[in-house]
């Protein structure tokens, strides 16, 4: 088995554990490179099926390419799509810096969607290498009723034994891609020929490394126009993946606060 085979096998194991142990699951689909790989892996785990709904928490401020992508592949992949709206910015915590406030819309949208549908757990396609607080995450990560992350007291997790027993009312985030890197995602996308939104590929010397909302996500300078270019670029770049995400940089602990509050 090569590295991609090993990553894939572990993700499948996680999917199957979650599916067996936890009722009422859904998967978050942000339409980005990671969540597309995540859907792909679910289809591998369940032999072509995605046996739970996929949820797009929509800020209404995504790029048009993203909406097109969503509509096409919902149909093609036979997904049970739930589209959830986020509340307006006025309903978020005014103490947060502006970009973080925008991100907080998603947290709140998610919180409301969870209440409506009563899901016990959500799959989320975060990776440890994206951001330092995500590096400390668990594969099965219990959350408070409002989605808060008690990061100072996380359950032990070893030998692929995950915490799957919870008092009623606990909400869980499950992270099947936690052990992948950005390069792994692209190499796997290339190997499996997984469809990808065009914004990731360079046009006029710029491309997106990470896709968020239109107003708070910025492209990076790049000439990487193909998957091979992207993989080659990642092997040499020292620019952080989320450098184009404004909300991470507003305060030392801006992202930590967002995540503790339930942000992905």
């Amino acid at each position: 088995m090569n590295r991609l085979d090993q990553l894939e096998s572990r993700s499948i194991y996680i999917f199957r554990e979650a599916f067996n142990r936890i009722d009422r699951l859904a998967m978050l689909w942000s339409l980005g490179k990671d969540s597309n790989v995540m859907i792909w892996l679910a289809r591998k785990a369940f032999f072509g099926h995605v046996p739970f709904p996929v949820m797009h928490v929509d800020t209404g401020r995504k790029f048009p390419e993203m909406y097109e992508f969503r509509d096409q592949y919902t149909k093609e992949w036979g997904l049970d799509l739930l589209r959830e709206e986020c509340p307006p910015i006025e309903e978020t915590d005014p103490d947060l810096p502006p970009a973080a406030r925008s991100a907080a819309r998603k947290t709140e949208g998610l919180r409301r969607a969870l209440q409506v549908h009563g899901f016990n757990a959500l799959f989320a396609g975060i990776r440890r290498d994206e951001q330092a607080t995500r590096a400390k995450e668990r594969v099965f990560s219990p959350r408070g009723e409002g989605g808060q992350w008690f990061f100072k007291d996380q359950p032990p997790e070893f030998w692929d034994q995950y915490k799957t027993d919870f008092p009623p009312g606990t909400h869980i985030r499950i992270h099947p891609l936690l052990h992948w890197t950005e390069t792994d995602i692209w190499e796997y996308t290339r190997r499996e020929m997984i469809p990808t939104i065009s914004l990731y590929f360079a046009r006029d010397g710029k491309r997106y490394r990470s896709l968020g909302d239109k107003d708070i996500t910025f492209p990076v300078a790049s000439n990487a126009a193909t998957l091979n270019d992207i993989i080659a670029e990642l092997n040499t770049t020292t620019v952080a993946e989320r450098s184009g995400r404004a909300m991470d940089h507003e305060a030392e602990d801006a992202f930590e606060r967002l995540r503790a509050d339930g942000y992905m």
Binding site: Y13, F47, K136, K152, P156, N228
Partner: protein, 645 residues
């Protein structure tokens, strides 16, 4: 609309794909410099993302502290403010050889569960020790736990050499101290490296300040670690993770932990002991031209279909018929405890081995191990962060492996309430593989009804047949009492026969040794013979140590209602003093192995029907008590006689 396919070009650079990934955990006592070492490693290999160095500088300035590499990994505000790593973190970097995940494990005792979480994901470890402070409590504990968890590649960085003037004697002192400790727990460190993480000595580059050190740098040591390969050459172990019904196929899903599986193989499911042939190995692929695989090996998450519809469920273990896993309901374990509530004898937990989950109780806590000086002590509970040797008893027979035979099916966690409260590794030493004892070789056998009824036998003999099963240590008085009881009951008109251990081994069981398996088989046969005697209307007294509870339970099952477990009780000291056959002397001299009470376990009866205490009562008193018990329990009462007559 744009999809990925137009961006795929087939001239892929083969070098950029499939680089090996090695996971290294960095452990050590708090403040010995783990985070600094990681920071230095990243800095010196040019692996820091742009602006990261500057942002750490800024964080330090804001707090008015000198530059602190620990901030690279300590992502939580609370960690930076208190200067303590709370939770394990991971970070990636690459050398010319391969990619690395560096796992930073907290050194603080309070966060041991997080250290274990980090360590359990690693292929190799780097232990960090402060040259000035020397070997500390956590240095030893972490070394011990790494070994217990099966991390076999370990090197030691003796850090802060700059603080001791780069003195060779200081290095050699710590090297000797820690080397001796590691050796005592069965670890040979691959290297001990004198390092100054702060100054960068021997991290990525050889130190000019320590010309006396001729060995490799930290980076060279890491590059020399061997990437463990999945154990495809071992016997097949495929735990059933789930069973799906998709598209009219019934697919058994799971990850192959060891060995290989091929289409057409006949496989065995344990503990249900069903067999079937592998019809297909299922795999989903988006490609139209994809064909199903014909075989799969260790590490792969697979789905298989079978040639017949047998009922199997999550937790069963698939193997080859010829190399099945042992089955048992009792085993020894070495475990570390992380629970807030101590582990206590008699308490129930849930045991998980891979996807298997079963109720388990703690039969005994044999030893609590002080990881500091490796001293052993007795205790009735294991508190948080302690390591102990215990005996666990599962609610039903399960299939598992010894850790030494198969790491992934030989380790477990214990769940207490909602929490994973401990983990450990399995040893079957002293306990029998019960598979042999419960396997029926022929199934086309039917019972022939007797022409003489049980009631007729009872009427003629004046008493019921039955089994008085004496159990207890060698020297407790079982044989003495059995033989004399036989005499007295015979004189009272009972049809009675005493089955003695030594006698049976002269004939019926002459082919059995004293290994745990053979001892269990010995008891199984005696149990069946005693049950036959009882059905023949004869009262049977058996005198066998029969140390395992599961064996006695099996004998009870064979004889049914007429079985009585009689605990012939005397403490081990009394028995050794009596030593009627001179066996204790031999066992203590090491001439007999697997001797109950000395080198093999004895499991006391939990709720015996009768306890005869030979340490406190004379033989006559004991016999009186036994006779009274038999009269009461087995003599045909007039009333019953009237009814049946």
């Amino acid at each position: 609309m744009d999809s990925g396919s137009p961006h795929v070009d087939t001239s892929a650079d083969p070098l950029s794909s499939g680089r090996d990934l090695m996971r290294i955990v960095i452990v050590g006592h708090v403040d010995h410099g783990k985070s600094t070492l990681i920071g230095r490693l990243f800095h010196d290999t040019g692996s820091l993302p742009e602006g990261r160095f500057e942002s750490i500088q800024e964080m330090c300035q804001r707090r008015g502290v000198p530059f602190e590499w620990a901030f690279l990994m300590d992502a939580f505000q609370a960690e930076r403010d208190q200067g303590i790593t709370i939770d394990t973190s991971q970070i990636w970097f690459k050398t010319a050889l391969r990619d690395y995940t560096i796992i930073d494990a907290p050194g603080h005792k309070e966060f041991l569960k997080n250290m274990i979480t980090g360590a359990a994901q690693s292929d190799g470890a780097l232990l960090v020790i402060d040259a000035e402070e020397g070997v500390q409590e956590q240095s030893r504990r972490h070394g011990y736990l790494l070994h217990l968890m099966g991390v076999r590649q370990v090197a030691v960085a003796i850090n802060k050499m700059d603080a001791v003037g780069y003195a060779q004697e200081v290095f050699e002192k710590v090297e000797a101290d820690y080397g001796a400790y590691l050796h005592s727990i069965g670890i040979e460190a691959l290297h001990m490296i004198p390092v100054s993480a702060r100054e960068g000595d021997n991290v990525a580059e050889k130190s000019k300040a320590m010309p006396w050190y001729k060995g490799p740098t930290v980076l060279e040591v890491l590059d020399n670690y061997v990437l463990p390969a999945p154990p495809v050459a071992q016997p097949l172990r495929l735990p059933v993770q789930d069973v799906y019904k998709f598209d009219k196929r019934r697919i058994i899903a799971g990850r192959i932990e060891s060995g290989r599986i091929r289409v057409g193989d006949r496989v065995l499911f344990s503990p249900s002991n069903k067999t079937a042939c592998v019809k297909t190995i299922e795999a989903w692929s988006a490609r139209q031209d994809a064909v199903l695989p014909q075989e799969a090996g260790a590490g792969e998450s697979v789905g298989i279909t079978l040639d017949e519809q047998i009922f199997v469920e999550r937790g069963e273990l698939i193997s080859e018929e010829t190399q099945p896993p042992p089955e048992t309901d009792v085993f020894c374990a070495r475990l570390f405890w992380l629970g807030e509530t101590p582990l206590t004898v008699g308490r129930e937990y849930r045991l998980r081995i891979g996807p298997l989950e079963v109720g388990v109780s703690v039969q005994s806590i044999d030893r609590i191990i002080d990881t500091d000086d490796l001293s052993l002590k007795d205790g009735t509970q294991v508190v948080r962060n302690q390591v102990a040797e215990v005996v666990l008893r599962t609610r039903r027979i399960v299939a598992l492996d010894e850790f030494g035979d198969n790491a992934s099916t030989g380790r477990f966690v214990l769940v207490d309430g909602y929490d994973i409260a401990g983990g450990g590794i399995i040893s079957m030493e002293g306990y029998a593989d019960q598979r042999e004892l419960i396997t029926r070789r022929y199934t086309n056998i039917q019972r022939v009804p007797h022409a003489v009824s049980v009631e007729e036998r009872i009427r003629r003999q004046g008493h019921e047949g039955g089994v008085l099963w004496f159990t207890g240590y060698s020297g407790a008085g079982k044989s003495t009492l059995a033989v004399q009881l036989e005499r007295r009951l015979f004189d009272l008109g009972f049809q009675i026969y005493a089955l003695d251990g030594d006698n049976v081994r002269h004939g019926l069981n002459a082919n059995l040794s004293f290994s745990p398996e053979d001892r269990s088989e010995n008891i199984r046969r005696v149990g069946e013979v005693a049950a036959l005697f009882a059905r023949a209307g004869i009262l049977t007294v058996t005198a066998f140590i029969s140390p395992y509870r599961s064996d006695r339970d099996r004998a009870r099952e064979a004889a049914g209602k007429s079985f009585r477990e009689v605990y012939i009780r005397a403490d081990l000291e009394t028995c050794a003093e009596r030593d009627p056959k001179g066996l204790y002397r031999k066992a203590h001299a090491g001439e007999i192995s697997d001797f109950t009470g000395v080198s093999a376990p004895y499991e006391e009866p939990q709720s015996p029907d009768l306890i005869i205490d030979t340490a406190r009562h004379s033989v006559e008193e004991c016999l009186d008590e036994l006779v009274a018990y038999v009269e009461e329990n087995f003599r045909l009462q007039k009333t019953i006689g009237d009814k049946t007559g």
